[in-house]
Structure formats: C-alpha cells, structure tokens
C-alpha cells in the first residue's frame, strides 16, 4: 500500500539552543510526546524577547491556555514561527492553579496576542498582567465563571465525556431541561435575585473608548460620538459589532465586540470523542468546511502518528483547493457588495460556488457541512464521473469564469477608485499582529504554510506564493484573483497525478485510539493559518482542544487598520480581512 508518512517535527538545532541560552532557567518539556520549553513566568518576557530578536521567530501564531485541573496547575502554550519558513518553536509557562492565576502579558512584544490573551482570560481565567484592556471577549462582563476550566460545569451538563451512558448502548434519553432546576439552559449563583441585578452593559467597552471622546482643548471643539455598527448590520458579514468613535466621518477609535456567535466549540469539543469533533469543525468556517476538516485531521494524525493513504492525500488537496477557489470568488463578490455594487458580482460568484458545492455534495453527501475527512484518509472515494466533473471545472469553467471576473472588475473605474490607495496595513505591523493568509501576503510577506512548513503533499506541487507589495485594498483584491490561479494550477497537477488505491490507511472505526501527547496541526486555510492544538491524555476524548482561528487573530489590528479612515472605508477594510463569524467566535 502506497502511503506517505506524516510530517513529524524534528528537533531543530535552533530550538535546542534555547536551553543552552538560558541554562538553569528554561527546561525542556520532558513529558512523553510533549515538545517545547518550559519557561518560568518571571523570565517569560526576557526569554520571549530572545526568541523574537535573536532566534528570529517573528510570528507568534498561537496562544493557548490549558487547565491541568488534576495537577493543580495552569499552562499557557505559545507557538512561534518564522515568516521565512521552517518548523516552529513552542514554549510554555506553568503557574499554580490558585486565584489569581497570573502570567505576564506578551502584548508589548507581539501585539497580536491581544485578543488571544483576552480569550484565555475570558474562558480560563488566566490573568495577563500588563495587558492594557483585559476585558472578557467572547462572553459578556458579569457572566459567572470561566467556562473552559475543568471544574466548571455548564447548566446542561450530563456527563464529563461522550458517549453518554444514557444514550449508549441502550439509547435511553431524557430532555436536558428536565434535570435543570430552571428547566432551561440556565445557571445562577446561590440566592440570586434577578430583580436586584444591575446589568453592567457596555460600561467597560465604552470606558475603553473613552480616551478618544475627551473634549479637545485647542481650537474649535467638535463632538465625537460613539457609533455602533452591528451586531445586525448588512455589511458586517454576520453578527460582528464594532463600536466606533467618529469625528465627522473619520474614525478616531474602534473596539470590535465579538462573541455573538460563541457556540462553545472548545467546551463541547473536549467532551466529544475525537471523531465526533469532525462535523463540528465543519461549522467553524462554514464557507470552507473541507479546510477545517483538513487541519483537525492533521493534528490528530500527528498525535496518533499514522500515515495517510496516498490517494486520500490527493483527494484532500483537491478538495482543499476547490474550497479556496470558491471562497475567494465569494470574497470578491461580497467585497463588491460591501462597496455598494449590490448583488450582481455576488450573484456571479455564487453561481460558480454552486458548481463546487455540487462536487462536495457528490462526494460527501452535504453541500456545506461535508464531514469528509477521517483520520488516515477520507470517508468516501471520488467516483469517476465526479472526477470528470472536477476536470471540467478545473480546466474549463473556473478558468473562464475567473478570467471573466478579472475582465469585468479589475479595471472597473469605480472599483479602482474605491480600492486603490486605501492602505490596510504594512508588512512589519502585520507580522507583529500575527496576521496570516492573503492579508499578510498582500503586504509583501511571502508566508504561506503550504510552502513555509509543508503539510500533506503540498511539497509535490509547483505553485507560486503570490505576494503584492502595496498592502492596500486593491492589492488585497488582486491577491485573491492570483491565488485562484495558483489553486487551479495545483488542482491541475493533482488531477493528473492522483493514483488509484485505498482511501484510508486505517480501518473505519467509531472510536480511535489516541496516545497521550500534544500536537499542533495547521493548514493554510483560505483565510490564513488555521491551527488545531490538541492534548490527549490517552482517553477517548481530548483533554484540551483549541482552535487557532485565522479570522479571530486577523481582526486583532482592526483598530490600527481603521484609525483615520472614513466610515465608508471601514466596511471595505473589514471586508478584506475576510472573516467568518463561526470561526471568529467559535
């Protein structure tokens, strides 16, 4: 059976140096199947500065809080990468699990940790000292408890792990409402009296905007007002809310408010079995379910250390690239919507998307929520007639339609005048803010995980990591077109090379056996780096399951991007970051 081995990260000489650089301070993580370095919290900032400046790991991609409840400690895991490519460096801080759990904030080194640290504070109650704006981010201020802590139980809690005894093997069930004292998904502190409750509302949010609303001392004073866009707003792509301080039409302050679609992905994921999480990942970035499956499958395969069947690898690449094509087409359509060219370009884009969804439906049975990947391969083979359809799409329909899109839009005077010269972000700031994906490449940084740290079989294909240099809105539009062409190139090669053979290296099984350890699997999703950080303790359910969502990290610099711009441009600036709320709020 022809198979490819999973990419195991070998310990690089540079990562070995960290122990030698700080002898007696930094120690290697010696737990079996764990990697990285354990840094005492007193030295964290010092060590992180060395990692960034001496070792050259300029992109801090992922911050994860982990609750080791039985060992009474908490851990913060950092994944740092080089934008020039190569494997990453993982470092951790361990602190005792007693309130307050305090870890120094790295926000002065990498401002991109801003939202990720706020998330860890919100969900795990890890206090990052030195963080200037440590408010809750996904839940609201005043919410009781930190939900991802292992001793925190939600109102509908039935058992710690699935499958629940009531459902399996006898199939008995009850309604969760029956066992809750409030007959609903509710949980209140003891002796709580709702009449006495004074809602905090958005006092803290407006407080953090207050520095912008100070009256001006000099000259002709003008009023600055706070304008809320969203959560129900036609241009915010879902339930995003931005609290803007504006002076006339100019934005002078901005705070994103998110969490309106916080569906508790991680808490549910830590109760699910490994395979049960696969359909949940579909619902992260619901435009690109195949890409989400890909990242999760990679992470768990790394943990299990199993190979992937070769044909399945090709199918995965074909599906992931088709996903990218349709995502970018819809992106362009939606961008034009945001600019005021209501509907027509979007209708053209959705027409092509339907054809790609037909392929997904043919192979997986579902249009959007494909649930197609399995550990070691994919769930079903691609039939010959579907392969023929893919060929027709890749060789004829999609190139023609992309070319048409290019012809209709790229030189369009209105589009050019709205997009050209509206600066989004420069490369240095983008890297410090941990931005990834097309937005980063539009600033000129050729960082594409498919090349920088190849996964699956991407090292077998010829394609260019496209970049643009200006980093304005127009470049962000053009780079999507470029990437469609590159994806089509990869697709054409993959279709030619795909071998016959089995589609899974493993036997189909309901429960997979995952040895204890940790793994971080990341893919270049159409929106940026999509990472899954999974810790297994050898049981059927993950101990920690964290999603590093590109949308979530990419909006961190939204305020920096928008300051000084007009409200009308905010819509486009937010649009080019290409966020999907399912992934942003998880």
């Amino acid at each position: 059976m022809a198979t490819t081995l999973p990419h195991t990260e070998t310990t690089q000489p540079s990562t070995l140096d960290l122990g030698a650089r700080f002898p007696g301070v930094v120690s290697a993580d010696t737990r079996p199947s764990f990697k990285g370095w354990i840094v005492p919290k007193e030295n964290l900032i010092e060590v992180a500065t060395v990692i960034r400046d001496e070792f050259g790991y300029d992109l801090l991609s992922n911050v994860t809080g982990v609750d080791y409840f039985p060992e009474n400690k908490m851990e913060v895991v950092y994944h740092a990468y080089k934008t020039t490519g190569g494997p990453g460096l993982e470092f951790k801080v361990q602190v005792p699990r007693e309130d307050p759990v305090e870890v120094p904030s790295l926000i002065n080194l990498w401002p991109g940790v801003d939202f990720q640290e706020r998330e860890a504070w919100d969900l795990l109650g890890i206090k990052f000292t030195g963080h200037p704006d440590l408010r809750r981010i996904l839940m609201w201020e005043g919410y009781e408890g930190h939900p991802l802590r292992k001793d925190w139980k939600e109102p509908f809690h039935e058992e710690d792990f699935k499958p629940f005894k009531s459902r399996w093997p006898d199939g008995q069930f009850y309604y969760a409402e029956e066992k809750n004292p409030y007959q609903d998904n509710l949980k209140f502190p003891q002796d709580f009296d709702p009449e006495q409750w004074i809602p905090e509302g958005d006092a803290l949010l407006y407080g953090s905007l207050a520095r912008y609303t100070l009256p001006q001392e000099d000259g002709l004073g003008t009023d600055r007002i706070v304008l809320n866009m969203g959560p129900q707003h036609p241009s915010t792509h879902g339930v995003f809310r931005a609290a803007l301080t504006v002076e006339g039409e100019t934005i002078v302050g901005l705070k994103p408010v998110i969490g309106y679609l916080h569906r508790n992905h991680e808490k549910i994921g830590e109760r699910n079995t490994y395979i049960q999480n696969m359909p949940f990942t579909d619902r992260l970035d619901y435009f690109n379910s195949m890409a989400n499956n890909f990242g999760y499958a990679l992470a768990v395969e790394k943990l299990m250390n199993i190979p992937v069947a070769e044909r399945a690898d090709y199918i995965r690449v074909i599906m992931a690239e088709l996903t990218r094509v349709q995502n970018h087409l819809v992106f362009i359509g939606n961008l034009l919507n945001d600019l005021g060219a209501m509907y027509t370009p979007a209708l053209y884009a959705f027409e092509e998307r339907e054809l790609v969804l037909d392929i997904f439906e043919a192979v997986s049975g579902a249009r959007m929520m494909c649930n197609y990947f399995r550990f070691g391969g994919v769930v079903r083979d691609v039939p010959d007639d579907v392969m023929q359809k893919i060929k027709d799409l890749v060789y004829e329909r999609l190139p023609a339609k992309t070319e048409e899109m290019d012809r209709f839009l790229t030189e369009n005077e209105i589009l050019v005048s709205r997009l050209k010269g509206v600066h989004v972000i420069d490369s240095e700031t983008a890297v410090r803010y941990s931005m990834t994906g097309p937005v980063l490449r539009a600033t000129g940084v050729p960082y594409d995980i498919r090349r920088a740290d190849p996964y699956s079989i991407y090292d077998r294909f010829e394609f260019d990591v496209v970049t643009r240099t200006n980093g304005d809105l127009y470049d962000n539009y053009l780079i999507r077109l470029d990437e469609i062409w590159q994806s089509l190139r990869i697709l054409q090669q993959a279709i030619k090379q795909i071998p016959q053979g089995p589609i899974n290296s493993q036997k189909p099984q309901y429960q997979v056996r995952v040895p204890a350890g940790e793994a971080y699997g990341r893919v270049e999703s159409p929106k940026g780096e999509l990472g899954f950080y999974v810790i297994s303790n050898g049981k059927p359910n993950p101990w920690r399951y964290h999603v590093r969502a590109p949308s979530f990290v990419n909006i961190t610099p939204l305020e920096q991007i928008c300051l000084g711009k007009k409200i009308a441009d905010f819509v486009a600036l937010f649009g080019v970051i290409d966020v999907v709320m399912g992934e942003l709020d998880r």
Binding site: P155, E177, F192, V239, H262, R263, I268, L347, E351, R367
Partner: protein, 224 residues
C-alpha cells in the same frame, strides 16, 4: 359560509367582460398581496445564513415567491428568518429586532439550532431554540437546511398567510398593535424578565440544597 367557499364564489360573469372583471373576497385579495411580498429581515446568524443567501441567488431564486427584497431595517420587514444558532449574548438584539418589526410579522426558525439548539444545545452560551422567546410560525429542519428546504418552508408560510382572515387578525383589532416581548437581560446568566420570580425561587432552592448537603457532609465529618 366558510372561508373556502367565500374565496371561490361561483358567479357567472358575462362573457364580454371576463377579461376585465373578476370576483373575489377581500380576504383573498388581501392575503394574495401579503403572501406575494413577504420581505425578510436581512439578518443572518450563522451557517444557515449562507444557505439563506444562496436561496436568493440564481439557482434557487427566492424572488419567484416575492421574497427577494431583504430589508436591513426591521421597520420595513415582514418576516424574520432566524438563520443560525441563537446565543445568549445575541438574544437581546434579536428580541429587540423582533419588537421593532411592525405587524403583521412572522418568524421562521431555520435549521436545527434555531429550532432547538441543534448540535450546540449543550453549550453554555446557546439558547435551546428561539421559540423560548419568540412565537415561531415555521420550523425548518436541517443542519443547515438546503435552499430547497428553506423555499419549502417559505411556501408553508404562504399557506399560513392564506388562511388568515382580515376580520380576525390581531393587528386590526382593539388593543396594542403588537405584543412586545420583554428584552432579556445579561446577568450571571441570561435573565428572562418574565420568569423573575421563578428564577428567584429556584436559586433559593438550589442554595438550600447546597447548604443541606454541606451540613450533612459536616455531620459525617464530625461523627467520624
């Protein structure tokens, strides 16, 4: 005479004016107008919203049913498609939007999440079905429902509109124009103001149970 017969009166219209004259009832005319221009609120929550958009595009084309005019403001909308997971954090804005819609207004729960909480029901931030707060007219199953399913749900809504009678509908009768749903409050958890006494009682009961349990534990400890 029942409504069905009224709507199809068997009058003989003279041959020469058949092209110009038709006989019908006011109900039928009124409902024909309303069913053919149900304007949805442009408002999507999650994955289902994408299928809702797709239902508006070329292949499925909901415009055939007069439902293509998505209104971003609730003041101009007739129907709210709750397309996606309703979270506790999002619920107050949703209820406020519903209250701002003028009568007649309809609510469609699209997908498993909006109907019951769906796959995310066990989540701590998820409302197990929008019908705990708003009166739902049509439920559409699926995760997400295909555009065809959504259109089927819309046709069901049209049938529902057809059965309404101008003499009986709420919004032409005496009393308040529309029924306002009290806006939930974000407290330590979601507070439904309609259930305040209930919540207070249950919270007191849980605390009594906790103290009793604590006391019995204390007894055990002292007896050993």
């Amino acid at each position: 005479m029942d409504n069905e017969k009224l709507s199809l009166p068997q009058y003989d219209i003279p041959q020469d004016i058949q092209n110009a004259v038709t006989v019908t009832t006011l109900d039928r005319l009124y409902n024909w107008g309303r069913r053919s221009s149900v304007w949805p609120l442009m408002f999507g929550l999650a994955c289902c919203a994408i299928e809702m958009i797709v239902a508006q595009t070329a292949r499925f084309d909901m415009a055939r049913f007069g439902m293509e005019v998505m209104r971003p403001t609730p003041r101009q909308a007739d129907m709210m498609i709750v397309a996606g997971t309703v979270t506790k954090k999002m619920l107050p804005p949703i209820v406020r939007l519903y209250n701002q819609m003028p009568e007649p207004k309809y609510v469609v729960a699209m997908g498993a999440c909006a109907s019951s909480g769906g796959p995310f029901k066990e989540g701590y931030n998820v409302v197990a079905g929008i019908d705990k707060f708003l009166p739902v007219d049509v439920y559409i199953p699926g995760c997400p429902p295909t555009p065809q399913a959504l259109i089927h749900g819309m046709i069901k809504l049209q049938e529902k509109i057809d059965r309404q009678s101008i003499g009986k509908v709420r919004w032409y009768r005496k009393g308040p124009d529309s029924v306002e749903v009290p806006i939930p409050i974000l407290g330590p958890d979601l507070i439904d103001p309609r259930r305040n006494p209930e919540i207070k009682d249950a919270a007191a009961a849980t605390s009594r149970a906790a103290t009793q349990e604590g006391a019995s534990h204390g007894d055990n400890a002292s007896s050993h």
